[in-house]
Each structure stands twice: as structure tokens, then as C-alpha cells.
């Protein structure tokens, strides 16, 4: 199998290279008003029916053999540009695209959109404008809440920003912020994600058909790029909301040469409750995010970027009485820093070298008079990667490169002091992670194109090595200009694993590496789909089916203390999972009304020898139906309306059916035990919710501001956050104590006003 893939790969490469041509047009595509490079902008030569797409740094390269061509350059949300070029030598061509005005529709040529043309599937370019325009809980615009509205993405608990992709677990999503891994992307126990929409330029969600440059997780990749900063002039935007405020500033440091972007967000619940606390008591909770990025164009061939993120949740309480001081402080957060250097070796070869540092840390500080204790858990990575984009011919776009990461896992570190005596208990795991990859996007003919890749990850921890090979393959067949069929096969390995204390995202979840006991998780996914655009790409539609099989998936023995267990590997169960489903997607891109409709029909199952008598059972997040519709209507330049409706089958739950007594618990004593039904056999009531929002925008001479009124859960549906069995429920009718199911719902109707501005 591996040999066959390698042979095919070499064949496609050679086929492309031998047809390589004479002259190359290369350069960057940028936003004309901000100077930001545009990712995924397309360049198309209608006469030759050939084209190219800008990479993650806005760079493109197109090698052609004709001397006079017309070139159409376009990107979503921008006016297309047509350029006539006499190609008699290699040409550097930087293109600036103007943004579309409100409601403006531009016919962008005869070529279908990327979703139809590219040999890539299971990918969604998440519209950042939607993150800002759609109504949100407490007015907090959240990237992950928008991700949950896309087909194939299942939401976590009520109000949570957590998500599951195509039946995979919560830890199977790789979240990259400017190429740094974010291990815990949540604030407030998962209610909000850490990503401040003001600082984000683009987001790509990969659910399947993964290109070979991505790896390390089984189910999805969320690749987030921060804004570079406006190269033309100084700008800012911000907002004041119910629970937080935010500000983003960007501008040139040296015009068209160096830019900056800084962004900050902080909640202020702690400041609001402070005056109401009793004397001698303090209690506070807040979270904050800081994003910063600087980039500098050294020359036409060299550009450097420095970007960083820092954010944390801080919870603290203390009580001071004479002779008695107690206090607890809990904090958790992420830090990441990325330094990147883009270098254009030649019009056909682009390289990016990256140094990455990221850190996730959770700590509890406790003081009880003379006792001081600190518990820490976390993971930090230091690494580097190099990625090449090679354009040997207009038929091939080859990506290749490698990555190395040195990781330090701290499942739990306990240190403290009682009086003058110190104590410490440390478990640290040092891990080496590396991978090399090569990927070729190959256009065989007008109808057929392929994406073929190979990734080889290597993992080392404590004399345990794992070297694997991950083949990736996607084929596209165009039925006509607006319709294509696609199919893909991917294999993925995952060498770090999340052990979670509960179904909600808590900072006490810990990451562990693979070991001699914990084998790498592996998944194989096949998918197929039809993609069709209507009305000159105004409507994008797709239908995809998938089947994913995972091996070595992990559960821990129920009741295991995962936090303080030095031998946690021995308390794990290893099993398999499989999921399959159908995803339908309809999206309207342009006009006064934009939005999308997504529907997923899916199944997700797990099987462990030690659980459920060895029988398969549905995963907690197995949801048969998941339907969502979003809409934004721009009535005029001042008023716009937006709405979101979600309906999804309830999540799965294991509930006790019977009870029995066994002797024990001391001489003559007994213990009451529960007889549970099959695991996750019970489905909670369906989840449904309607959010609506109204926005009033005013244009001023030097700035623009807007008032928003959002209503979350407009008909106040009591959706379950979780359900538990209360064994001692006092029945008010009979006054008898009995077991009863109790549903906790946390978010009823929540109206929110917020104020935003930009200049």
C-alpha cells in the first residue's frame, strides 16, 4: 500500500514537472485598504483554464508558456480584478483587491468557486464576518459558537464553546493560532473560546481530506490566522458588552513596510461584585486575552512576523479573620509565541520558517494558615518547522516540509509548605515529536485533479518510539463548470491524549503523551461528496458522506483520580470508535441576505472490552440530527438583522435503571449499588434554540459605531446543560424520598445590549 502511494506520488510529480513551462508570474495578493495579505485568493487564466491560489502568506506563483494572457484575480468579499499580461519574462505582480460594498454583487468570471474547483473536501473557510454579525450569548462574539453551526460539527453542552467533529472526541481537534498549538481554547469552563474576533483574519476548518502539512489529531484541524495589521493607516475597533470590553489597534509602523496589531479583552464581573462582598472577604473571577502581532517586510523576498497570544482565567477567594486566613486561587491559561520568516527563493519556491513556543498552565494555590500548597498541571512546547511551497508547473503545487517539537507534560505537580517544612511531588514527561510531509495538488486535466500527500510522524517518550506513515488522497472530477464530485481517504495518528474529568471542559482535564502502554490513536476516514454552485457562485451547496474508523481510543476506568495518579497509564482502557454520516450545506455568499443552512445526519459509536460488557455503545456526543440555519440581512447601511436557529438530537446519557444490595461495608452492613442500563442508551431531550440580533450602525466623519441588541434563546427553551440522578429527591406529593432525574438548564432568554466602534 505504502509503495503504491509512493509510486503514484512520484508519477504525478514527474508528469507535472516535465510539462513545466517558461515564465512565472508570482507575488502577493493583498487587501487594498489594509494591506493585509489575502489567504486563498485565486488567480485564473480563462484562456488556458489554469490557475493558482495564494498560500497562508498571500503568496502565489503561476508558470505559463504563453506570451499574452488575461488574469482574473479574486477573493471572497472582494471585487475581482482583470489584468492583461504580456508574459515574456518572469514577472513579480502584487495585486490589491478592493472590498465589496454592502449588498454589492460582482460577477466574478466564469470560473466556479474554490469549493467546487479545488481537490479538497471537508474544508470550510469560516466567514469571520459572520462571527461578528451573528447574535451571541451576553453579546460575546465567539468563533467556536459559529463553528458549531457548521455541518459535521456537534456542539458540546448548553452554552459551551466545545465541539466534536465527525464523531471524534473533544481532544481530537487541533487548534492552531498562527501555527502555535492551543491546548485549552476555552474560558469560563468552556462557555467562551479564547479567540477575540477583532484579532482574527481567517479561520479554516478541516474535517476530512486533510492536506499532509497538518497532522497530530484524528478529527479536525482549526487553522486560525491573526490579523497582520493595517499597512496603510492607523485603525482601531472595540466594544463594550455586558460582561467584557475589548479594544484592537492596528496600523503601520513604517508605511507599507512594517505593521502592528494589538488586541485586548477583559471581563469585569469581579469589579462589579466587589462592592457587595462582606468585609474581610474577597472573591473574584475574570478572564482576559491579549493578542499582538508585528510584521516587517525586509525586501520583496523576505518578510518576518512575530505574533503572540496570552490569556487566562483567574478565580480567587479569600477570607481573613483575626488569626485565621484562608484563601484559594485558581488560574489557567495559554501563552503562545510565533516567529516566522517568509523567504522567496525563486518565483517558484516559497519557504516559511517558524519558531514556536506555546504553554498551557493550570494552577491552584491554597493557603490555610500555616499550610501553603500549589498544584500545577500543564504542557509546554518549543519547536520549529519549515514549510516549502514549490510551483514547478501550473499543474502542480507541491508543499513539503518538516516540524519538530519538544514538549514537557506536567500531569500534576504538587508543592507546598507547612510552617518551615517544604514538600513537593513532581511528575514531568519529556517528549520529542517530529514529522515530515510532502503534498502535491496536481491538475491532471480540466476535469480531474488530485491532492496526494504523505506525512510521517515520529514520536519519542522514555525510550518508546513510534514512527508512522499517513497517506492522504483526494480526487476531484468536474461534471461541469459549477459541479464536481470529490472523494478522499486520509489516515491520521495522535500521540497526545486528553483525559477529561467530565463531559464539560474544565481546566482539570490533563494531557498525557503516548507511552509503552498508551499506543498512538489512529483513524482512517473515507469521504465522498458532490459540490455545486448556483447563480454565479452566489449559492454554494454541498453534500458529503463520510465513514471514520478510530483505533486505540482512550477511556479511563470510571472513578479514577486522573489528576494525582502517577500511574495513570495503567488506569486506561483502549478501544475503537467508528462514525459515519451525511452532511448537507447551503450557503449564500453575496447580496443583502447572506447566511447558511447546515444539516448533519450522523452516528458515533465506541467499543471497549472493559466497558458495557464489551458491547458497542453510542458516544456521549452521538447526535442523530443536527440542523442549523443562520441569516444576516443588511436592510440598509444603518440597520441589519441576524438570526440563528439550531435543532439537534439530545446527547447520550447513561442512567441507572435498578438498584440492589450486597452485603458489606462492615459486619452486618450492606451496600446499595446501581444497575445501569447499556452505556449511553438514553437520549436527552432535543436541543433547540433561536437567537436574534438587531444592529444599528452610524457613520461619523472619523469613526463608525454600532448598537447591538441580541437575544439569546429567544423563546427561553430550557435546554439541558446536564442531567443527573438525585437519589434523595423528596417527592412533594407523597413526601417520600426517592430517586429522580434532575435537569439543569443554565441559559434561559438572555437579552444583551452592546456597543461597538471602529475608526
Amino acid at each position: 500500500m505504502k509503495q503504491l502511494i509512493l509510486t503514484l506520488f512520484v508519477f504525478f510529480m514527474i508528469t507535472g514537472v516535465v510539462s513545466a513551462q517558461k515564465y512565472t508570474i508570482s507575488g502577493y495578493v493583498k487587501d487594498a485598504s489594509t494591506g493585509e495579505v489575502l489567504i486563498g485568493a485565486s488567480l485564473y487564466v480563462p484562456k488556458l483554464k489554469l490557475g493558482a491560489v495564494t498560500n497562508a502568506y498571500g503568496f502565489y506563483s503561476l508558470t505559463l508558456n504563453t506570451d499574452s494572457i488575461g488574469l482574473v484575480i479574486r477573493a471572497m468579499g472582494y471585487k475581482a480584478v482583470y489584468k492583461k499580461i504580456d508574459l515574456k519574462k518572469d514577472i513579480d505582480l502584487n495585486v490589491n483587491l478592493q472590498t465589496l460594498e454592502l449588498g454589492e454583487v460582482v460577477i466574478v468570471g466564469s470560473k466556479a468557486s474554490e469549493n467546487v474547483e479545488k481537490p479538497q473536501m471537508g474544508v470550510i473557510d469560516v466567514p469571520i464576518t459572520s462571527v461578528k454579525e451573528l447574535p451571541a450569548i451576553f453579546g460575546e462574539k465567539d468563533l467556536f459558537k459559529v463553528l458549531q453551526l457548521l455541518p459535521g460539527v456537534q456542539a458540546g453542552a448548553e452554552g459551551s464553546a466545545g465541539f466534536y467533529v465527525r464523531g471524534g472526541g473533544a481532544d481530537e481537534n487541533l487548534i492552531l493560532l498562527d501555527e502555535a498549538v492551543i491546548y485549552n481554547p476555552f474560558h469560563m469552563a468552556g462557555f467562551f473560546s479564547i479567540f477575540n474576533g477583532d484579532a482574527i483574519k481567517s479561520v479554516d476548518l478541516y474535517k476530512g481530506g486533510f492536506p499532509a502539512q497538518y497532522g497530530g489529531r484524528l478529527s479536525s484541524i482549526i487553522d486560525i490566522s491573526m490579523k497582520d495589521g493595517n499597512a496603510e493607516s492607523f485603525h482601531g475597533e472595540g466594544g463594550i458588552g455586558l460582561i467584557s470590553s475589548r479594544l484592537m489597534l492596528e496600523g503601520p509602523i513604517v508605511k507599507n513596510k512594517a505593521t502592528f496589531m494589538v488586541s485586548a479583552r477583559r471581563t469585569y464581573l469581579d469589579l462589579l461584585i466587589k462592592p457587595f462582598l462582606p468585609q474581610g472577604t474577597s472573591a473574584a473571577y475574570y478572564f482576559y486575552d491579549l493578542n499582538a502581532k508585528v510584521n516587517y517586510i525586509i525586501s520583496e523576498k523576505d518578510r518576518v512576523y512575530l505574533s503572540g497570544y496570552m490569556g487566562a482565567d483567574v478565580l480567587s477567594t479569600s477570607l481573613t479573620n483575626p488569626g485565621d486566613t484562608t484563601g484559594v486561587g485558581v488560574s489557567w491559561g495559554n501563552k503562545s509565541a510565533t516567529a516566522r520568516w517568509n523567504h522567496v527563493f525563486s518565483p517558484k519556491l516559497f519557504a516559511n520558517t517558524t519558531f514556536i513556543y506555546d504553554d498551557y498552565n493550570f494552577s491552584i494555590n491554597e493557603q490555610m494558615n500555616a499550610l501553603q500548597a500549589k498544584i500545577t498541571s500543564g504542557i509546554n512546547d518549543v519547536g520549529g518547522k519549515i514549510d516549502f511551497d514549490w510551483f514547478p508547473s501550473p499543474l502542480n503545487h507541491v508543499k513539503f516540509g518538516g516540524i519538530y517539537t519538544y514538549s514537557q507534560f506536567i500531569p500534576s505537580l504538587v508543592e507546598g509548605q507547612i510552617g518551615n517544612t517544604g514538600f513537593a511531588n513532581e511528575q514531568v514527561k519529556y517528549v520529542h515529536n517530529a514529522a515530515v510531509y510532502v503534498n502535491d495538488e496536481y491538475t491532471y486535466s480540466e476535469k480531474w485533479s488530485f491532492n496526494i500527500g504523505l506525512r510521517a510522524p515520529y514520536f519519542d517518550y522514555k525510550q518508546t518510539d513510534y514512527f508512522d506513515v499517513e497517506p492522504r488522497f483526494t480526487a476531484k472530477y468536474s461534471l461541469n463548470k459549477t459541479t464536481s464530485l470529490k472523494a478522499s481517504y486520509v489516515m491520521m495518528y495522535q500521540n497526545i491524549h486528553l483525559l477529561s474529568n467530565s463531559s464539560i471542559s474544565l481546566p482539570t482535564d490533563i494531557w498525557i503523551p503516548s507511552s509503552n502502554i498508551v499506543k498512538p490513536e489512529q483513524s482512517q476516514q473515507v469521504s465522498a461528496g458532490i459540490f455545486r454552485n448556483f447563480l454565479e457562485n452566489a449559492f454554494e451547496t454541498s453534500a458529503e458522506i463520510y465513514y471514520k474508523k478510530s483505533n486505540n481510543v482512550i477511556e479511563y476506568q470510571p472513578g479514577t483520580d486522573i489528576f494525582f495518579n502517577p500511574n495513570i497509564d495503567n488506569a486506561l482502557y483502549f478501544g475503537q470508535g467508528w462514525s459515519y454520516g451525511l452532511e448537507l450545506f447551503v450557503k449564500k455568499n453575496v447580496g443583502k441576505f447572506t447566511g447558511w443552512l447546515g444539516y448533519t445526519l450522523s452516528w458515533a459509536n465506541l467499543q471497549f472490552a472493559q466497558l458495557n460488557n464489551g458491547a458497542a455503545f453510542p458516544a456521549t456526543y452521538d447526535r442523530r440530527h443536527d440542523f442549523s440555519v443562520t441569516g444576516i440581512y443588511n436592510f440598509n447601511k444603518n440597520w441589519s438583522f441576524s438570526g440563528v436557529f439550531i435543532y439537534e438530537t439530545g446527547s447520550s446519557l447513561t442512567v441507572p435503571l435498578g438498584t440492589y444490595i450486597i452485603p458489606g461495608n462492615g459486619p452486618g452492613g450492606s451496600t446499595q449499588l446501581l444497575d445501569y442500563g447499556s452505556m449511553n442508551f438514553y437520549k436527552l431531550p432535543p436541543y433547540n434554540r433561536l437567537d436574534i440580533g438587531i444592529k444599528y450602525t452610524r457613520q461619523h466623519k472619523k469613526y463608525e459605531d454600532e448598537w447591538r441588541f441580541d437575544v439569546y434563546n429567544a423563546y427561553s427553551r430550557q435546554n439541558p446543560y446536564f442531567v443527573f440522578i438525585n437519589p434523595n429527591y423528596q417527592d412533594p406529593n407523597s413526601n417520600i424520598s426517592r430517586a429522580a432525574a434532575v435537569q439543569i438548564s443554565i441559559f434561559p432568554i438572555i437579552p444583551t445590549f452592546s456597543y461597538n466602534f471602529k475608526f
Binding site: 442512567v655 446499595q672 449499588l673 426517592r738
Partner: protein, 264 residues
């Protein structure tokens, strides 16, 4: 203005009133299952309790005494698979409880097959009695805490693992350690105890060696019982080894006592 107050009042009522509610689970009717509990100990005749499980949500479940759900007049016997001898159990009263007793002493290393029939139903199970270990030595450390003046000691119990297995060792019949990957090596168990404040203190220590089904059942029973009132706990499913019912037909072997004398 009154309308505004009324609106705010309605809004607050909605927000505050929608936090917690009892719901009725649409679950199938529960059919009671027979529950067996027996842990064989070498050198002693076997004993076994037999009862019925009940629906968790019915009012009748509020009485949790063993007697209410006992199965009487069952035919119970075990067969020693090493000697082919059969021991038929006799129903008897033990305090206020009815328990089934065998007559023949259990032997370490032997496998036993359980057969129960009542009301036309049959339950079966099989277990093997592990071999005992011998305690090599016991260390102890006095801890800083006390209980009503009584000292707290941590005991570190060292013993050599048995070849073969797997074996599951415990001091308290609730927390087991497995010897997977450690066969034949010296193992350590720890336990801290509050002791009476009368020196010298004599403590007798023994190590239980259980088989897998016994270790799993007792561990999970203990965890389930501990988390009974914790709404955030994942469900702990206690899986037994009884064909046709719930519960455990298991076995444990205890080491010879090791006596520790703590001088003042």
C-alpha cells in the same frame, strides 16, 4: 413606567425560574434481576447471599434492607473443578439475614463452578481462588495528624509477588493494585491507620490477594458508592461475573498475619 417595571419583573422571573427542574425519564419498565454475592476464602466454607434488584425510581426502593429482596428456597451448589466434588448449600439464618452456606472448606488454587436454580431460572458463574502471598516486612511512619488523641501511622507493607497471575492485592478490600508487568518482584502497599493511644501498640497486618473479577467488582462498587451523591461523576458501572444475573462469585486469599509492635 409601570409597564417597564412589569416587563423587567417578567424578564427576571424567566431568567431566575429556569435553572433546575425534575424530569421524567422515558425509560423501559425495569424487570428485577437476581443478585448473587459470594467471595470464597480459603480454609473456610463458602457463603452466598441471593436477592432481587428493584427499580431505582419506584417508591418501594426506599427500604434498603437486605431481607426485603431475598430469594429463598433456591437450590445452590458449587463444584470444585479440581476434585469434581460438589458442595450443596443450605439456607440459614445469620443474624437477621438469610444466607446460603456450604460445608466444605475452600482451597487455594482451586477453581469453583457455581450453579443456582430457583423458580425455573438458572444462574452460573466460575472463579479461581488465588494463592496467598507472604509479607516480607512492614515499615511504619508516624504522621502528624491525630484522631481524638490517637496517633496516625502509615504502614508500608512489602511482599514478593507471585509468578503467574494476574494478581490484585489489597489491604482494605477497596483499593487494589495489579501486578501486571511486575510478576515476581517485590511489591509495596500503603495504608494509614488511626490507632489507640496505648503504647506499645500491636498491629496485625495481612495482604489480600484477589482474582480479577473480585478486584474489579469491589473496586467499582466502592467507587460507585462513594460517588452516589456526586452529580458530576461519570457513571461507574459495576460489572459482575454472574451469568443470568447481577453480582459477584469471586475469591480472595489472605496472607499469614504479620505482627508489628510499635513501642512508645
Amino acid at each position: 413606567m409601570k409597564k417597564a417595571y412589569f416587563f423587567i419583573l417578567i424578564l427576571c422571573s424567566i431568567i431566575l425560574g429556569s435553572c433546575e427542574k425534575n424530569i421524567t425519564l422515558d425509560i423501559p419498565k425495569y424487570n428485577s434481576k437476581p443478585v448473587v454475592f459470594s467471595v470464597l476464602l480459603p480454609g473456610r466454607p463458602p457463603q452466598l447471599s441471593l436477592s432481587l434488584s428493584q427499580s431505582y425510581y419506584s417508591y418501594a426502593d426506599t427500604d434498603t434492607s437486605v431481607n426485603n429482596h431475598l430469594i429463598t428456597n433456591a437450590r445452590v451448589y458449587i463444584t470444585d473443578l479440581n476434585t469434581n466434588k460438589t458442595d450443596t448449600f443450605k439456607e440459614d439464618t445469620f443474624g437477621q439475614k438469610k444466607i446460603y452456606f456450604g460445608k466444605q472448606n475452600i482451597i487455594s488454587g482451586h477453581s469453583y463452578f457455581l450453579h443456582i436454580s430457583y423458580n425455573g431460572k438458572t444462574l452460573t458463574a466460575q472463579t479461581t481462588v488465588p494463592m496467598p502471598v507472604k509479607i516480607d516486612h512492614v515499615d511504619y511512619v508516624k504522621l502528624d495528624t491525630t484522631f481524638y488523641g490517637g496517633p496516625n501511622y502509615e504502614f508500608q507493607v512489602y511482599f514478593n509477588d507471585l509468578t503467574g497471575g494476574p494478581n490484585y492485592f489489597t489491604l482494605d478490600m477497596a483499593n487494589f493494585i495489579s501486578d501486571a508487568g511486575l510478576a515476581g518482584k517485590q511489591l509495596e502497599l500503603k495504608e494509614d491507620l488511626y490507632l489507640p493511644l496505648v503504647y506499645p501498640i500491636t498491629v496485625q497486618v495481612l495482604v489480600y490477594n484477589a482474582n480479577k473479577e473480585t478486584s474489579d467488582f469491589l473496586t467499582n462498587s466502592n467507587i460507585q458508592a462513594q460517588n452516589a451523591n456526586n452529580p458530576f461523576s461519570e457513571p461507574v458501572i459495576v460489572e459482575g461475573n454472574i451469568n443470568g444475573g447481577l453480582g459477584l462469585f469471586g475469591a480472595m486469599t489472605q496472607s499469614p498475619f504479620y505482627t508489628v509492635v510499635i513501642p512508645k
